[in-house]
């Protein structure tokens, strides 16, 4: 039995090592350049077509994000009391919010040049930062950093920092505040309300 478990573990490890072959910097570069290439060519997206942008983000970007980790990070200490079911719903709602935010940012993209900063990784590293920069005329380049962790299947992004501002931890005080006042369910309700009002706004004619 023990022997079998060992074999199973070795098998799983070999799978994860095989699937994680794409290095984190290569992953970021591939996804970024592919998505931005589409945005550059697509006039609907540039004009702010949110349905089309959402589709693009959902198919190309979303699979590379670990939303459960992001949700836990955003909740911080307050989130430890969440039941698995609450965490599942929260992750879903927070994912919708982040995906919409990301899509919105994409529609604001105007073909600025992206620089990929040099990337070094020690062997066996499981938590890395991949740094990129957006060059913009007349101002300091804007840093766009991706934090990735190695999961069983592949590298997954668990935080994005724009100019040093975390897309995830910036929510921590609003989340904590909501949990303190109305509990985890209160946070779920306010996320749901936020998402619903955005959906209505997106559905309305421009």
């Amino acid at each position: 039995m023990k022997y079998l478990l060992g074999l199973l573990a070795a098998f799983l490890l070999s799978i994860s090592a095989g699937a994680a072959e794409l290095a984190p910097d290569a992953l970021v570069r591939n996804v970024t350049s592919e998505v931005l290439e589409i945005v550059r060519k697509d006039r609907d997206i540039q004009a702010g077509n949110s349905r089309k942008t959402l589709e693009l983000v959902e198919t190309k970007v979303l699979p590379h994000f670990n939303f459960q980790r992001m949700t836990q990070l955003a909740m911080g200490r307050e989130g430890r009391q969440a039941t698995p079911e609450q965490l599942r719903i929260l992750t879903e709602e927070f994912r919708d919010l982040l995906v919409r935010t990301y899509s919105k940012a994409l529609t604001e993209f105007r073909g600025q040049e992206i620089i990929y900063r040099p990337f070094k990784m020690a062997p066996g590293e499981t938590d890395v930062r991949v740094r990129t920069e957006i060059r913009q005329t007349g101002s300091k380049p804007l840093a766009f950093d991706y934090y990735l962790e190695r999961t069983a299947a592949s590298w997954k992004v668990y935080d994005v920092e724009v100019g040093g501002v975390s897309l995830v931890t910036t929510y921590r005080s609003s989340f904590g505040q909501e949990i303190q006042r109305n509990g985890i369910d209160g946070l779920i309700r306010s996320l749901q309300a936020r998402n619903r009002s955005s959906e209505i706004a997106a559905g309305a004619p421009k």
Binding site: L97, K104, A105, T137, G138, T170, S173, Q177
Partner: protein
């Protein structure tokens, strides 16, 4: 007619804000970074109001009317003026190489770049920096103090407010003697800055659950990042 309307609305807003500040001055939610939250939220709402009725509409019009090269030229012109004291601050922060680069930028852009309208220095390899006195104080090890939302100037900390006083004192635009020129330049810079922030603004509107605390936390993270020139100590959690 329209002007008068806006002025009346602004006056009402000011009155409402002053009243609310008096009433809500001591309410806090116990965030250690934000002991003045009650006051700050009122100021934040006031600034949002001024922005909505006055500054943002003008910036939107400016953004729609101005051709991109003109927009860029205006941004570059004010950026060039700012580069001088960005250099001074780099020097005060013990970064003479960066200070020299900033000074080089001013020299190149003021001449070859025709009074700063074109940012040729960036193309020549002299990257633009972002420094101010608040960052210099941070570099010297001075703590941020409480978060505070200033009327019209918006989010700051106590440290950055002190920095702002110096920034304004040495600001070349604020020191122009000819008042109409000074006011026109100041207004143009304000609107141009605001127009530059329109895209980020749209993203924040989409992202924020509670805009006040979202802007606060983003501001504090951003400033910490700037003080450490993009490499703040990694947060532990």
């Amino acid at each position: 007619m329209i002007k008068k309307n806006a002025a009346v609305r602004l006056k009402n807003l000011l009155l409402a804000a002053a009243l609310a500040a008096l009433l809500g001055g001591c309410a806090t939610s116990g965030n250690p970074k934000d002991p003045l939250e009650g006051f700050n939220r009122v100021m934040f709402a006031f600034n949002e109001g001024v922005d909505t009725v006055l500054i943002k509409p003008v910036a939107l019009g400016y953004d729609a009317v101005m051709p991109t090269p003109v927009r860029t030229g205006v941004t570059n012109f004010f950026g060039n003026i700012a580069d001088l004291f960005i250099g001074v601050n780099n020097l005060l922060q013990g970064k003479p190489d960066q200070a020299a680069s900033d000074l080089g930028r001013v020299l190149i852009n003021s001449t070859v770049g025709i009074l700063g309208l074109f940012d040729v220095a960036t193309a020549a390899g002299l990257e633009k920096h972002d420094e101010d006195f608040g960052q210099t104080f941070g570099r010297w090890g001075i703590g941020t103090g409480a978060y505070v939302v200033l009327p019209l100037f918006g989010p700051r900390t106590v440290r950055d407010t002190a920095g702002l006083v110096l920034d304004v004192a040495v600001d070349p635009v604020a020191n122009v003697d000819h008042v109409p020129t000074r006011n026109s330049l100041g207004a143009l810079r304000l609107i141009d800055n605001r127009a530059d922030r329109l895209p980020a603004d749209r993203v924040i509107e989409e992202a924020a659950l509670d805009k006040y605390s979202y802007v606060r936390d983003a501001y504090l993270q951003r400033r910490n990042n700037l003080v450490h020139d993009g490499n703040p100590p990694r947060r532990t959690e």
